[in-house]
């Protein structure tokens, strides 16, 4: 079944293949033809529609289901794909070349960053949830800690540890395992936390590049109008 996630994955592959097409194909006039212009305009509109997501998120404060990231990704892949078709792989002008490169970098940074960021975030959430469970389990058995101190702490007298019966020893072993799991999970959580903050910076780079991209798109449109829009045959 074609879910939004599958469609976006297919679009991502389609975009990468389409962009790589410049190695094999180039059309001198398609970008300036009526069809080329229309596709370019449609692509630019879709690209500008990607800004709806950050606007809702930052300005209106809508998150989660009220502001799905999937739609942002859909616009962010469909728009640039149309723009690649519009360019027909003709990248002769400096502005065109820079706009194309900025667009590819933004899309790729979005795909990679988005995918990894979501994966890390999901893992982190699961880990934190598990950590909470473990910690509450540990808290419930807090009174057992004192009893197990003789086993767990190395400076206790030998007679004191020998006095502990087998059942108590097993309980202490389980408690020890619990504590160790908490410790390991806390270490993993802190690692994923730092990875998450690293990807937050990655997404900041994505945002900064997006700024550059939209500036270049506006410049491209302006120069086309300034030097005269001509519908090439």
């Amino acid at each position: 079944m074609m879910t939004e996630k599958n469609i976006n994955a297919l679009l991502a592959v389609f975009f990468v293949l389409l962009a790589a097409g410049f190695l094999f194909h180039r059309s001198a006039t398609f970008a300036g033809s009526p069809a080329g212009h229309l596709i370019g305009i449609a692509g630019a509109v879709l690209m500008f529609m990607t800004l709806i997501y950050p606007f809702k998120k930052r300005v209106l404060g809508r998150k989660g289901r009220k502001n799905p990231l999937g739609t942002h990704i859909l616009y962010g892949l469909a728009g640039p794909s149309l723009v690649v078709i519009h360019s027909a792989h003709k990248l002769d002008s400096l502005i065109g070349l820079l706009t194309f490169l900025a667009m590819v970098i933004v899309v790729v940074s979005g795909i990679v960053g988005g995918y990894l960021f979501r994966s890390v975030n999901r893992t982190l959430k699961e880990q934190k949830k598990e950590l909470e469970t473990l910690k509450s389990a540990f808290q419930e058995r807090k009174e057992e800690i004192t009893a197990c101190e003789a086993l767990l702490l190395p400076d206790r007298e030998k007679e004191e540890t020998e006095a502990i019966d087998e059942e108590q020893r097993n309980r202490c072993a389980r408690l020890y395992e619990l504590a160790r799991s908490i410790s390991e999970l806390e270490y993993a959580t802190s690692f994923f936390d730092s990875t998450k903050s690293m990807f937050s910076k990655w997404m900041k780079v994505h945002h900064v590049l997006t700024l550059l991209l939209f500036s270049l798109v506006i410049l491209h449109i302006l120069t086309v109008l300034y030097y005269g829009l001509r519908w090439l045959p």
């Binding site: 001198a28 820079l98 550059l212 005269g228 001509r230």
Partner: protein, 214 residues
């Protein structure tokens, strides 16, 4: 991080302003050899209006076409440069796109093209020929036994020349001189004009003719 956004925005705007002022940044391809000395965009592009026929005609004048080759003399009547011409296709790029449909009805074909029929079919080429393709759809040459070639074809000047027939006599013998120049079928075939019937075939044809004659 807000500072980073401010710096990025300022840098983006600065880059775009520089690119806008640096005219070559918007050039969609090199100019052809014909215009390679043009170094200012506004010589052809009017800001926010772009290129126009008027801008072309500022440099290209067709008031006196006597120095032009016949093929391009129609420019005297045509002032719609941009319908056929395009630039920025590279130094060796083709800047002309000949579209006969644009000239339809406004010019005589023979103003530019040589009439290979030597006026036999009149001067209105479009009675038979199309605009998009010179080929005549559905045209079939008359069958092989057609002998009325002169209905459509004129005797070429070479066949009126005495030297031609002397050469024929030297190669094939005196009797060949008796062939009438308008009897094309004696030597030529309808399959291909350059496919000549050789001597033995001609003899065969003569024998067949004498047998069929009562």
């Amino acid at each position: 991080m807000k500072a980073a956004y401010v710096i990025a925005s300022t840098a983006s705007v600065a880059l775009c302003v520089w690119l806008f002022l640096y005219e070559e940044a918007a050039e969609p391809g090199d100019l052809s050899v014909f215009h390679e000395e043009v170094d200012q965009c506004n010589l052809c592009h009017r800001p926010w209006r772009g290129v126009s026929d008027d801008m072309c005609l500022q440099c290209h004048s067709f008031t006196d076409v006597s120095f032009l080759t016949p093929e391009i003399r129609f420019h005297e009547a045509e002032k719609h440069c941009l319908e056929c011409h395009i630039e920025h296709r590279g130094v060796g790029g083709d800047i002309s796109r000949m579209d006969h449909t644009l000239l339809n009805g406004r010019l005589m074909c023979t103003q530019c093209h040589t009439d290979v029929h030597s006026g036999f079919f009149g001067s209105d080429c479009r009675e038979c020929h199309g605009i998009k393709t010179w080929d005549i759809p559905g045209f079939r040459h008359p069958p092989r036994d057609e002998r009325q070639c002169s209905r459509c074809h004129a005797v070429p000047p070479s066949h009126e020349d005495e030297g031609f027939w002397r050469k024929i006599e030297m190669t094939h013998g005196r009797e060949w001189q008796e062939i009438e120049p308008k009897d094309c079928w004696r030597c030529h075939t309808t399959r291909n004009w350059r496919h000549l019937i050789m001597e033995h075939q001609l003899e065969k044809t003569s024998q067949a003719e004498s047998l069929s004659t009562p």
